[in-house]
Amino acid sequence: MTRDAGAKGLDARLVVRRPEFDLDLALAAEPGEVVALLGPNGAGKSTALRALAGLVAMPAGHIRLDGTDLRPLPAERRRVGMVFQDYLLFPHLSVLENVAFGPRCQGAGRRAARRRAGEWLERVGLAGYASARPRALSGGQAQRVALARALAVEPGLLLLDEPLAALDAHTRLEIRAALRRHLAGFAGAAVLVTHDPLDAMVLADRIVVVEDGRLVQEGTPAEVARRPRTDYVARLVGLNLYRGTAEGGTVVIGGTEGEHTLDTVDSLQGEVFLAFAPSSVALYRTRPDGSPRNLWRARVAAVERQGDRVRVRLAGPPFDAVADITPASVAELDLSEGSTIWAAVKATETHVYPA
């Protein structure tokens, strides 16, 4: 993904070497676009963000923002706003002074900076807290002040490091909606780091999945949710995922002991991913009549309650899978860990796409 040097938005190749991993990630974002970096802990997401902000040195690569290479610039000259995971509001300054800090550093006079800070506080709905100290704020309020502080420098690029991770479930819902509104109103490019798929789905226009410092998948939230390309993403979006070879309506996947063939309705050729939802797996005590096409005998590895349904982990051979059933079915099937049952997936419930 190369662009013209004069192009607007972000175009970067982030290269950071660490003892634990090497980060090498191509990343682009249009003005107004929100890109989420999604990945497991330790994948290098936060390091990528810190490289964009200028807080870690890059031995190679580039960061072009609206045509300017930021890589040689120190953090304080990058026009990049950052919202940190635990906000890092200066504890010795009032809320207003926290937000006015950036404008002051950019050379605004004390009064102009405070006026600008006041406007931003108004925008995030915290005008009444201008003289409060950060420690007097709730988590959600602190998050909004941190956002106002980052936006008050009028950055060309906004970085958000796990912006909702420190909030409790209830506040999170509220703040996520508010954050979505503010991101929609932000004219520059925004990069968001999260390990929560829901945050990524709701907030981002595009998701970049990072594992071990490398991009493993990229696409709109809907694409990523529908067509996961790694076990990590499949687990996040709750799909059974297999890699295999397609041949005339069937897919041969590598199971736990040798190969296994599954029937599908897609007619693709070559290397593919095959995915199906846990809710599409049917379980039987005895071999069902009028057998569906994909039927296999599996061992029950675990039975876990998840909300109003029950998740059953099936272990191979022939292959591992996850099934979601109702609590009533658990009793009916007399499921227990270690027992053996029949599992089936209709060919129409499988989804096959090129690898």
Binding site: G54, A75, E76, F84, P91, C105, Q106, V153
Partner: protein, 261 residues
């Protein structure tokens, strides 16, 4: 937490003994004070002169300690270079060095024929020993480690990410130091300055060795107390009381203002 826990006897007894040990000498001082003649004795010029000199020199030396000690603490806490451990050890030497030895060392370095002193004398005609400046230098020498250690500890405990946040907001190194780092470690700096001032106020050994004992010029309160003890013990008690009162008053005021816990 309204439930107060009763301290167990094996902690309470030694704690009380320790308290008595610390307070008893002060009680002795108060008990033997010549209260009836206190007023006239305090009015004597020499007492006020020594007190003024003590307060001025201790305050000046605390100022010098802040100017030099805070940057030194920053380097010890943040920089990394070969020999850092040695530098850290050198900084704390005045803490363990007997002050008289410190005074001798200062004479050898800054005295008229000393390492740097000889050059100061020949180039600028400046002689430091036995001047008020020498008092400040001697006090700074013994007091600075207190400030450095206190501020270094505060800097180590401070969260570096606040400085990163400031950098992303466009703050340069000086702005970060002035508006973020210093305010974050302010309690440590204040505590260090108070310790430093108290140590400077009580300085005796290095001062008498390097600055001498000239009334009005280098004779600080501790020197005056020691001298008075030789020929007029009653005066020594009065001087001690004054020193005690001043230190307690200043420390109490500082504590309320700065060292809130």
């Amino acid at each position: 937490m309204s439930r107060s826990s009763r301290p167990p006897w094996f902690l309470l007894l030694p704690a009380l003994a320790g308290l008595v040990f610390l307070v008893l000498p002060l009680a002795g001082l108060l008990a033997r004070a010549p209260w009836s003649t206190l007023g006239t004795r305090l009015g004597q010029g020499q007492v006020l002169e020594a007190l003024r000199l003590s307060l001025v020199s201790a305050t000046l030396s605390t100022g010098v300690c802040l100017l030099l000690g805070v940057p030194l603490a920053w380097v010890l806490a943040r920089a990394s270079f070969p020999g850092l451990g040695l530098v850290r050890a050198l900084v704390t030497v005045p803490l363990v060095l007997p002050p008289v030895v410190g005074g001798v060392a200062l004479l050898l370095a800054l005295g008229r024929r000393g390492l740097v002193g000889a050059w100061l004398d020949s180039a600028f005609g400046i002689t430091l020993p036995f001047t008020t400046a020498a008092v400040v230098i001697a006090e700074t020498f013994v007091a600075m480690p207190f400030l450095v250690i206190s501020v270094e500890g505060a800097l180590r405990a401070a969260d570096l990410r606040y400085e990163e946040a400031a950098a992303t907001l466009g703050a340069g190194r000086w702005t970060i130091f002035r508006r973020v780092t210093l305010p974050l470690v302010a309690p440590g700096v204040a505590a260090g300055a108070v310790l430093c001032w108290a140590r400077a106020l009580g300085e005796f050994g290095a001062t008498i060795t390097f600055a001498g004992n000239f009334p009005g010029r280098t004779q600080t309160m501790p020197l005056a107390v020691y001298l008075a003890l030789q020929n007029d013990p009653q005066a020594a008690i009065v001087l001690s009381l004054v020193l005690l009162a001043v230190s307690v008053a200043v420390l109490a005021a500082m504590r309320d203002r700065w060292v809130r816990t």
